[in-house]
Symmetry: C2
Amino acid sequence: MDAYKFIKDSIIQGKFEPGARLAEETLAKTLSLSRTPIREAIKQLEAEGLVIPLKRGVGVRNFTREDIRQIYDLRTILESYAAGQAAIHRTAEDLERMQDANNRYEKVIQTYVESDIDRIGEITEVNQEFHEAIVAAARNDHLYFHISKVVVVPLVFRSFYWYNQFQILQSLEVHKTILEAITNQEPERARIAMHEHIYQGRDHVLTNFEKITSPS
Amino acid sequence: MDAYKFIKDSIIQGKFEPGARLAEETLAKTLSLSRTPIREAIKQLEAEGLVIPLKRGVGVRNFTREDIRQIYDLRTILESYAAGQAAIHRTAEDLERMQDANNRYEKVIQTYVESDIDRIGEITEVNQEFHEAIVAAARNDHLYFHISKVVVVPLVFRSFYWYNQFQILQSLEVHKTILEAITNQEPERARIAMHEHIYQGRDHVLTNFEKITSPS
DNA sequence: CTCATCCTGATTGTATACAATAGAAAAATA
DNA sequence: TATTTTTCTATTGTATACAATCAGGATGAG
């Protein structure tokens, strides 16, 4: 496995303490590599802002409540624009991809609601696929590039754990609205729906921030 | 001088042919460094999208007309949002910084119009300072981070060379309007003015794209 | 003359070696 | 005991060494 992906995933999955220094030698041994490729991977993560330089070496960035607020504001702007553009530019394949993602989203949510067993990992994943399909349909590679960097950060907090069933069912409804607007080529409606959708996510993460960040 | 800044500046100043491969050994010798720090700098530039991986090594990214269109669309969204937020959050120091930048902008444009000698380098620089002051006043570090990556790309084309005096004087007027709106805390007016301002820049670069990219 | 194949050299990718120093532990002073 | 100074060690930052492979030219066949 390549070093970049491994370290990035480790950070997202919270395998380091907040602010913990990344020990190069340790990572090198874990991945059976020398320090050279490890350092290069770290430099990339640094350029993305997931990791910050210390006096020597780097540590995983400790995102504050204010960071999360800013990131969600930014994501709201970018992704609602993307939804509007997607409603203009979407092709048949785009729609198929969105529908497929959303069908799987509905399915996993149903089994979750019926059985109440833990499906949060899957829900998070399929949700991401839906959002990504929309951004891809906006036909702007640079927009896609920047959104994918912005979206990564809140994953650290795995906020879906704190949604209740009602909220999750509600987000499914919103997804359907967005999909409908994009299908019918209604940019403004798609934009507004996405704007509210992500703003709801923002509110949720901010009201649960202490719960989310404090050790369970 | 550190390798990252040197290579980045070299790319922006067009010191490499479009698509040219970055020879590590050469850069290392130029900067009296070993290849290790050079490679790390390159990895950062790669993460920012200024440089793309080849089969072996990397080359400077060759931005197309479509890239420029996408980048300006993105910048329009981000920076008009920033202007709106700046109108809400600006402090006295923010306003001072913007005014200072814009005064210098006016001054250098005046001497340019009067004498018609080449001041394009300065004009570009002071223009950037004004825009940066606004983004900083929006009080969103992550927005700032992403905008600064987006803004860099078009600099490669040094499009200011192709503005005529009328256009430059017009952009000064728009700056004044934006500054006024931010001073008076009129977010919507600031947002719209900035939106149109950057969209004008977009049009300009796109209509002059062939002139700009073909070797003079 | 054109195209395919095979070599050769140059350049990258990775590993190791060495030098510099931050930070912790130990010692010393008040 | 608390606080400063000193020493030492672990880890980073940089340089070099070696291995892998791509690119371009030479050779040869059609």
